[in-house]
Subunit: 75 residues, 6 copies
Amino acid sequence: MPYVNIRITKEGATPEQKLELIKGSTELLQRVLNKNPATTFVIIDEVETDSWGLAGENITTLRAREAAEKAKEQK
Amino acid sequence: MPYVNIRITKEGATPEQKLELIKGSTELLQRVLNKNPATTFVIIDEVETDSWGLAGENITTLRAREAAEKAKEQK
Amino acid sequence: MPYVNIRITKEGATPEQKLELIKGSTELLQRVLNKNPATTFVIIDEVETDSWGLAGENITTLRAREAAEKAKEQK
Amino acid sequence: MPYVNIRITKEGATPEQKLELIKGSTELLQRVLNKNPATTFVIIDEVETDSWGLAGENITTLRAREAAEKAKEQK
Amino acid sequence: MPYVNIRITKEGATPEQKLELIKGSTELLQRVLNKNPATTFVIIDEVETDSWGLAGENITTLRAREAAEKAKEQK
Amino acid sequence: MPYVNIRITKEGATPEQKLELIKGSTELLQRVLNKNPATTFVIIDEVETDSWGLAGENITTLRAREAAEKAKEQK
């Protein structure tokens, strides 16, 4: 009866992708620890990029910098 | 000073129902462990049915199947 | 299929008391939101009093002060 | 590689304030435990006031009472 | 930069099995959402069977019943 | 009434250091969002290095590699 909580930034994951995460996690727990899928929970939380910090900055800023660098490279 | 986190699928729980969960959890902790209600936190998270998995499928699919079965029975 | 996480300080809750919390939470979700007990999870985390803070101090200190006050009153 | 999860009521925290929480938490972990900011995660969850309970009531009710008391004082 | 929290009952998962869960989750997030493994966190919590409830009973009781049934079948 | 959950690897944080984290988080929430310390919770979870994954490996392995590199440098 495992409980899996996956937290990702809210950047457009589709229902199909979320379903793949649900299936993949459930299978992983079954394969590694023989856990029963019937009582395996998976909850996906999508978090606004303003509300997620890494290295002391928010992901909104990180994504903007990544986009700027990509734009530069393509010139 | 307990902390209670209740996670449910987002399927229309009303403010009144959420308040019942808050009151019920607070009373439960007081009754069983003599915890002080003044510092008992209850947080309810409502999760989209696409983001909650059980038995390797999402709750959106589970609810659709339940509804289809119910419709069949009623014929 | 609710998920309930109860976090309390580690101060001697017995298996019987924890079972009461499990039963009480499960019944609460069934009564208020008609949730199926068969897929209701309850997880209780017991946290060391040194690792739990309230009002900027840890619970170890809070409990020591409460005990000192009680001792004073009884003199 | 610490993980910090800050849960607050959804009452208008701005991106700038959330960034301050991200920076402040990251610095705190670095200062106290020498944790590497490059792998410090901070996630801020904002919770509806109807979904947060304290002392057996929800924060919506608490805020309404606080506002009423303030209004009375100002008369 | 996903965060994955896997909660299982404390029933003897080995470091090797836990590593498989870490690797499997990290690969899953990379495959499905192209998430960078370098900033993917996986935290595994092992919870005492007395502290985990399902269907209003604790897992200690569930495991005892499963063992009793198995013993009966083998007679 | 914020709730702060700090998760770190179990590598010898002292009660004094944990208290600094409690105080620092509580002050941060008060300074940035004017949150009342009296109802600010801070919970610190210490996680075994075998149970924490980063970049698809566990922290036990990461620490061993860091120690080996350090030893090499010092020769």
